[in-house]
């Protein structure tokens, strides 16, 4: 698998950065505009899948290897659980208590700003990381791990 033609490679080398930036925008502004962690994470994964389709699997694996993708996946899940546990231990007394909002950002002056809503942007970033890594892993796994031919050859 060596990727596609020169036209596809050139265009995707320009477009990949824009798609990645748009994904980051959707994740970070998830508490202000439509979008959020899940949609932004899927867009981030799509930029890597574009690389994989245009330049071949090996090129995408050099950028984001299987081990790093699974580490990012676990990091996103752990970050989300840690935010939930912080609400439990950091004074609120129950799971998913929005401790940053209630402690530091309370009051009307913070609405509609980028730094607002307490733990919600952090949770968006965690979910975005997780969804990006896991959807990239699914595509990588489905295209890498073809039905095993070596087992048949042994027989």
């Amino acid at each position: 698998m060596h990727g596609m033609t020169v036209i596809v490679k050139t265009i995707s080398s320009w477009v990949k950065l824009l798609i990645f930036l748009f994904g980051i925008y959707i994740v970070i502004f998830g508490h202000l505009t439509p979008g959020g962690g899940f949609a932004g994470g899927v867009i981030l994964a799509a930029s890597y899948i574009l690389l994989m389709l245009a330049f071949g699997r090996e090129f995408a694996e050099e950028n984001l290897s299987l081990g790093w993708a699974s580490k990012l996946d676990c990091a996103g899940a752990l970050l989300f659980a840690a935010i939930a546990l912080c609400g439990l231990f950091y004074g609120g007394g129950y799971f998913f208590w929005n401790f940053i909002q209630h402690r530091y950002l309370a009051g009307p002056g913070h609405a509609l700003k980028l730094v607002s809503a307490g733990t919600i942007p952090l949770a968006n970033i965690a979910i975005g990381l997780k969804v990006m890594a896991s959807l990239f892993l699914v595509t990588l796994v489905l295209s890498t791990f073809r039905p095993d031919r070596s087992a048949k050859e042994k027989e």
């Binding site: 439509p34 994964a45 899940a77 607002s116 979910i127 892993l137 595509t139």
Partner: protein, 182 residues
């Protein structure tokens, strides 16, 4: 309203073609048409969050499905249908259809949400106090990540577990075999 019904008709026709067509690739493309129609319907119903998620997941799913199906061959099932099986399936379909019609009669009319009838509904609280209590301007985000964050945790766990399952089942050699080879 008219555009929603036109889109619904388009989605239904695409779904029927996806079931009835003989080529695997055109069936996958028809599934993509179903998804894009659904995303446009969400946009006309003024739900941009769901529309963005739907269209993005649809593109990604279409790519994965095309990659997975493009080199597979299709096995066509031929032969006559069994009489007994057909009777049983028609009876089950009739029972489900009558139950569905009875349920649909009790639902409120299209376009009248449940908060218009029940002032004590939980969604009323979300709309009134969402900005004050969470600080998030996007009400959907304040619901799924603050009021109903348990649901999001469950969704994340489902995704995590499915990735583990896919990686373990689809990999070429088991870890035990690799250790033996070393």
């Amino acid at each position: 309203m008219a555009e929603i019904y036109i889109l619904l008709l388009f989605v239904i026709i695409a779904a029927i073609i996806a079931v009835e067509t003989r080529k695997l690739l055109s069936a996958v493309i028809c599934i993509g048409a179903v998804g894009f129609g659904g995303s446009l319907i969400f946009l006309f119903l003024r739900a941009p969050d769901i529309a963005i998620t739907q269209i993005v997941v649809e593109v990604l799913g279409l790519i994965i499905l095309i990659r997975a199906t493009i080199s597979r061959d299709v096995t066509l099932i031929s032969g006559d249908r069994e009489f007994f099986g057909m009777v049983v399936s028609i009876v089950i379909l009739l029972v489900i259809a009558t139950a569905g019609v009875r349920v649909l009669e009790t639902l409120p009319a299209f376009g009248t949400p449940i908060i218009a009838r029940l002032p004590d509904a939980a969604s009323n609280t979300y709309i009134k106090e969402g900005l004050a209590r969470t600080g998030a301007a996007n009400i959907v985000s304040s619901v799924i990540l603050d009021f109903r964050a348990y649901d999001t945790l469950g969704e994340t766990t489902v995704l995590f577990t499915s990735i583990i399952g896919a990686t373990v089942i689809l990999r070429k050699k088991s870890r035990k075999l690799l250790e033996e080879l070393e």
